[in-house]
Symmetry: C2
Subunit: 111 residues, 2 copies
Amino acid sequence: MIDHDLAALGDAFINFVHSLALSNKTGRAAGSKVKGTLLAEALRRAELREHMPSRMTTHKLADAAEALLVYAWLNGCVTIEESVATLEENSDSIEGLTLLLKKAKSRIKLS
Amino acid sequence: MIDHDLAALGDAFINFVHSLALSNKTGRAAGSKVKGTLLAEALRRAELREHMPSRMTTHKLADAAEALLVYAWLNGCVTIEESVATLEENSDSIEGLTLLLKKAKSRIKLS
């Protein structure tokens, strides 16, 4: 999960998916960058923090979340449509991201 | 084409698609933000500049390109896969973007 290059691709992925979810929610096209603090908190809530080394910065935790999310998409564990729907259904961004990370976690394990 | 909100969503779209194309090309995951100057030049080469008001800044032209690209995707005129492949096949980013804009232009007209 601690792959800087994958995190960079994941950053583009999650910003796109989050922008689509926000657009659908508000009924108006929008662009949105997901903050690292939100991703790091979602990683903790998805109980993924414990799988990682101690002493990681918020930035590194956010990178891990981004890497995991795009890894799941690249491997066909989640679709863009489902990712958008998951974020859209949750009014709270952190909750939506947590749920998405949980899906990624469970499906990557199973595949 | 001059819709600021759509351009913001388009920014997330083109960064994601461009990052995927770059990742495929280099065989290594990567994130990449597409510069406005490239988008504005691609818009000119796709012969879309003449459809727009005069006295537009590079930033506004880039916005128009982003809006058009995501509009085409939202309306099913291009897929993410095709967009990535189009950018990937062209070693020059501007050429890839130009081709993608031309596809969007011709298909939106026909639909």
